[in-house]
């Protein structure tokens, strides 16, 4: 992926960084690029911590403890520790990859922070982990709306599924989405499944296809991904005018990673 020279990796206190760094290592092997690590401290959490009624349910304390009082100092300390740990992992991996890199810690509204930091980049990678059986950071769907950059939501762990699934018409083959999808497939040595909106010729059946009308239906998309079991689902913005409506559901329920181009 020689044409991408600047990458932003967005992390927060719930992430380990492993998934995002695995994907980066896959894409930037033998490449020259600048990578910025952004550790986001959600200002909403800081604001809550300043309130006298702030209580926190710690997952590590379950099932023996009730919610405990929450203070700004506790939150700051937890963020600092997590940021230091992620910075260390980040430095180690990127040094090994011989990529120029920097690591920043910023506090604010997450989407706004990421959009601001991504202004000079060509790809945004956001890592999302599972907590208590539920994948969080679903609120980041706004990110895909507020930037035209490719945004890659990486699930941790990355290496699940058996293919790269691109949903888009044949005309899209020359687009960035198709190129990126092909790049992922080649680098990860996985087959690339291209799902069109028109039925394939009989000679290619039983190839999958998804009518254009169903692209606006999140359940149809989820059923298709369950069927195809991809490692990465690639959705070109051009083919999904209602993407903003789909994303909240997709980010909550999709089992694979998602690339919006």
């Amino acid at each position: 992926m020689n044409r991408i020279r600047h990458v932003l990796i967005a992390l927060d206190a719930t992430t380990s960084g492993r998934g995002a760094l695995d994907v980066l290592a896959l894409l930037m092997r033998e490449a020259q690029a600048d990578v910025v690590g952004l550790f986001v401290e959600d200002e909403a959490v800081a604001r809550l911590a300043s309130l006298p009624v702030a209580r926190e349910v710690r997952l590590s304390s379950l099932p023996h403890e009730d919610a405990r009082p929450m203070s700004g100092a506790d939150v700051d300390t937890a963020w600092q520790q997590q940021a230091a740990q992620l910075r260390h992992v980040f430095d180690q991996r990127l040094t090994a990859l011989q990529l120029r890199h920097s690591f920043e810690v910023r506090r604010g509204e997450p989407v706004r922070l990421i959009v601001e930091a991504a202004q000079t980049t060509e790809l945004v990678i956001v890592e999302r982990c599972v907590r208590a059986g539920v994948r969080f950071w679903a609120a980041l769907h706004e990110l895909a709306e507020q930037t035209t950059l490719p945004v890659l939501f990486v699930n941790e762990p990355w290496a699940t599924g058996h293919n790269i699934l691109l949903i888009g018409d044949g005309d899209d083959a020359a687009t960035d989405a198709a190129l990126l999808a092909a790049e992922f497939a080649a680098r990860d040595r996985l087959p690339l499944l291209h799902v069109h909106s028109t039925p394939p010729p009989p000679t290619l059946r039983p190839q999958r296809w998804l009518p254009a009308a169903q692209r606006a239906d999140a359940e149809s998309l989820l059923a298709l991904t369950r069927d195809a079991n991809p490692r990465l689902l690639v959705l070109p913005r051009a083919c999904f005018p209602d993407l903003a409506k789909l994303l909240p559901t997709l980010l909550r329920r999709l089992e694979c990673s998602l690339l919006i181009v």
Binding site: R47, V53, V57, D66, A132, R253
Partner: protein, 799 residues
């Protein structure tokens, strides 16, 4: 009467001119060794009886020949039948220490192994593939989705309820928290503090309530997750059972005639179902680096084919040259894992009993008895009719490793022990099981009768052996010389040795000499030189012994005459070489109580047979003179300058001659030596080693100079055993050395003492000048002396 033998009587020549061939190239080799018809018949008889206990013992003195004949006969019998079975061990999953033994018809074993190799290689990918199929994934995903939906709905429900209370749920660095909202954002502290106290308190209560609900919801998540995992496990097991059943269906059909195989396949089905998670884990992409671990796991479904008779054209004929317990009954090997010795069914190794099962097993009896516990293990297998792999170390309680107790394998074979006659007789006498298990004896001949036809057969035998060893052909003079040497080796003019190893060694050495001389054929001279070389390499001791005699260190007279002293002849054996040694036997007589004292026995140097011979001497003297006079004498006999044990009865004639010489006061000719056994009536009897004895005395006489008066006295029965050396034959032909045959002790006395022994006359006595007459006179003198002694003593007691 004695008879002096002519030169042509002391050796049976083989005339090369009697052969129609010029060399062995013109002869056809033999297809089988001659002279073993009796043993061959016994072997065939034993081989064809299928009943229990009809194992065989081949007894003889040539192991090589026995081995050849037994291999040939058993090979022919085995070729007539094809009943061997393949044998394998497989895992017994729920009784891991007792691997299951399975026997299959020939050729089925390797097919079974290949089938299970295929299964072991395919089951992982097959299950993985099935799990990845849409139907299974949909069912499995449905379980996951159900859980995630439930969890998501629970949390989203909480979020909705929170929104209804003006709260929102946030992710914190370590968990979750509910925050009060104001204008779409988390409330600022200032705004919160500006709220009335009741409102702040209400927000606090709401947050506490939501936290309590959140905790309750989160506490249910692990249990739900476990339930989902259990459901997925059940789903996976059902799928595995279905798939393995499908995979095993063709195998069950193919092996439906073999219950053991079917039981094993049932075991596999259960094991795959029980271990499906492990199989999936090993088959996962990420586990590719664990190839060794995966291979070890799947080896549980493989087959350890320990006996494969594929391609066998008959029953197996197996020779085990090292019959240890392990090599007979098989063994369980171990491998080192993390410093521990471990084992499993795949490390079971076959023994000779497994390989020979259904056929014939050949064992060297002596070697069998030299291996600890081997005889007991063999007997147990034959008596129980099954092969049980046993560890000697565990039998002795000195094993410290985990081992196995494999299923026994049914045994049906014939064992042929090859051993000596002595061992056979010992076993018959000492081990009752032996007679029960080895009912057939195949007794091998050591010699072949030497007729004209046999000489031609022998020539063909030489042809066979020389071609087998890729030696030069023999011309007919060499054949004749080997035949003569063959008679010499068995010391019988009418026999030929049958030990092919001995003959082959001679041929190899003659071939070497012929090739050194660049001769195209082996000739008589090469054979002669080879025989001489064999003797020369071994005769150092003989040279030393003879040198001491010639130097006078050991006294042996070869001229003159001495009373009570006779030249006896002994044979010393050193390894494969034996030679004759003259020895002085002397006798003394004195007044006594009629005892013949054997000094060798008194000194505990005499063997049992020698002692028996001395009793025969005493009995003979008693029977010859006891009716005519009281035997009031004691006689002593000794082998002079003998410092080792004396055994045998071949000096009986010499001892009687020495004793009668002493009694009759008649000197014995020292130019003669005598050998021969004797019965109580004075009849001469044959002895062994006659050629070596004669040659031994001849060598001493020759060293001192042959006078024409010298010679050896032998029993007439030994005349046919004479195959004397060429130089001795030459001396006999020149009249310089004589071989005298005698039938009785009286014949020998006439020769040795130069006086007729004398026969009982009409008066019941012997002629006064005869040996017996003079001896009787001496005995009467001793009796009179003894009587006088007794009378004098009686008078003294009266006085």
């Amino acid at each position: 009467m004695h008879r002096r033998l002519a030169a042509d009587e002391v050796f049976r020549r083989c005339d090369p001119a009697g052969f129609e061939f010029t060399d062995t190239r013109a002869l056809e080799p033999l297809l089988e060794l001659p002279g073993h018809a009796r043993a061959t018949e016994a072997l065939r008889f034993g081989a064809r009886i299928r009943s229990r206990g009809y194992n065989l013992y081949a007894l003889g003195s040539s192991r090589v020949d026995m081995h050849d004949v037994v291999q040939r006969v058993m090979g022919a019998e085995a070729a007539a039948r094809v009943e061997p079975q393949d044998c394998c061990y497989v895992n017994r999953f729920r009784g891991g220490s007792r691997p299951r033994a399975i026997t299959l018809p020939t050729g089925e074993g390797i097919r079974f192994r290949n089938d299970l190799d295929g299964f072991a290689g395919e089951i992982g990918p097959m299950l993985t593939g099935f799990v990845q199929e849409q139907d299974f994934r949909t069912r499995s995903q449905a379980l996951t989705d159900a859980l995630q939906n439930a969890q998501r709905q629970a949390l989203e429900g909480l979020q909705e309820r929170a929104h209804g209370m003006g709260l929102t749920m946030l992710q914190t660095p370590q968990g979750f928290a509910f925050a009060p909202m104001h204008e779409g954002k988390v409330m600022e502290r200032e705004a919160f503090e500006a709220l009335p106290g009741e409102q702040r308190e209400a927000i606090g209560h709401n947050i506490d309530a939501m936290n309590a609900e959140l905790i309750e919801a989160l506490q249910e998540f692990p249990a739900r997750h476990q339930e989902m995992l259990r459901a997925q496990k059940v789903l996976l097991r059902e799928a595995a059972a279905q798939q393995v059943n499908v995979a095993l269906r063709p195998l069950r059909k193919r092996y439906q005639a073999y219950p053991d195989v079917l039981a094993f396949l049932d075991d596999i089905e259960h094991d795959v179902t029980d271990n499906v998670e492990a199989i999936m884990e090993l088959s996962a992409e990420g586990a590719q680096q664990n190839g060794q671990m995966r291979e070890r796991f799947y080896s549980r479904y493989r087959v350890n084919l320990i006996v494969d008779n594929t391609g066998a054209t008959g029953d197996p004929v197996v020779y085990e040259s090292n019959p240890t317990v392990d090599n007979l009954t098989g063994r369980v090997e171990h491998r080192s894992e993390m410093g521990n010795l471990v084992t499993d069914f795949s490390l079971i190794r076959a023994g000779a009993l497994h390989r020979a099962n259904g056929g014939y097993l050949l064992l060297d009896a002596e070697r069998l008895f030299q291996r600890p516990f081997a005889w007991e293990a063999l007997k147990r297998a034959l008596l129980d009719e099954r092969i049980q792999i046993e560890s000697v170390s565990h039998q002795l309680s000195i094993g410290f490793t985990v081992t196995l107790d494999p299923d026994p394998v049914p045994l049906r074979l014939k064992v042929i022990l090859l051993g000596s006659r002595l061992l056979y007789y010992l076993l018959c006498d000492a081990d009752p099981d032996f007679a029960l298990l080895f009912k057939i004896a195949a007794d091998f001949e050591d010699t072949l009768d030497r007729s004209d036809g046999a000489e031609l057969t022998y020539a063909r035998l030489l042809t066979t052996l020389s071609r087998r060893e890729e030696l030069l052909p023999l011309d007919r003079t060499a054949v004749a010389r080997v035949i003569e040497h063959g008679s010499r080796l068995v010391a019988d003019q009418d026999k030929l040795i049958l030990h092919t190893r001995t003959i082959t060694d001679l041929l190899i050495q003659a071939d070497h000499l012929a090739r050194e001389a660049t001769a195209p054929l082996i000739e008589a001279a090469h054979v002669e030189a080879a025989v001489a070389g064999q003797v020369r390499r071994l005769d150092r001791v003989r040279g030393e012994v003879h040198e001491r005699i010639i130097d006078g260190i050991v006294r042996v007279e070869t001229s003159g005459a001495v009373i009570g002293q006779v030249n006896g002849l002994a044979v010393l054996g050193i390894g494969d070489f034996s030679f004759g040694q003259p020895a002085r036997i002397t006798a003394t007589v004195r007044a006594g109580r009629g005892e013949v004292i054997d000094i060798e026995r008194e000194a505990k140097l005499g063997g049992n047979i020698h002692s028996k011979a001395m009793m025969i001497v005493a009995s003979f003297i008693g029977s010859r003179f006891g009716a005519m006079a009281a035997l009031s004498l004691n006689a002593s006999l000794v082998f002079e300058q003998s410092y080792g044990g004396i055994e045998g009865d071949s000096a009986t004639l010499a001892e009687v001659a020495a004793l009668l010489s002493a009694l009759a006061a008649l000197p014995v000719r020292q130019s003669l030596a005598i050998t021969g056994s004797m019965d109580q009536r004075g009849q001469a009897q044959a002895i062994g080693g006659v050629n070596e004895k004669i040659e031994g005395f001849h060598d001493i006489c020759q060293a001192r100079g042959l006078t024409g008066d010298q010679g050896v006295v032998i029993p007439s029965a030994n005349a046919r055993h004479l195959m004397l050396r060429a130089d001795v034959r030459a001396a006999v032909a020149a009249g310089q050395f004589a071989i005298h045959c005698v039938d009785t002790i009286d014949d020998a006395l006439a020769l040795l003492l130069g006086t007729d022994a004398g026969s009982v006359d009409a008066d019941g006595g012997y002629p006064a000048d005869s040996v017996n007459g003079r001896a009787l006179a001496s005995i009467r003198r001793f009796a009179a002396f003894a009587r006088e002694q007794r009378d004098g003593l009686a008078r003294k007691e009266k006085e």
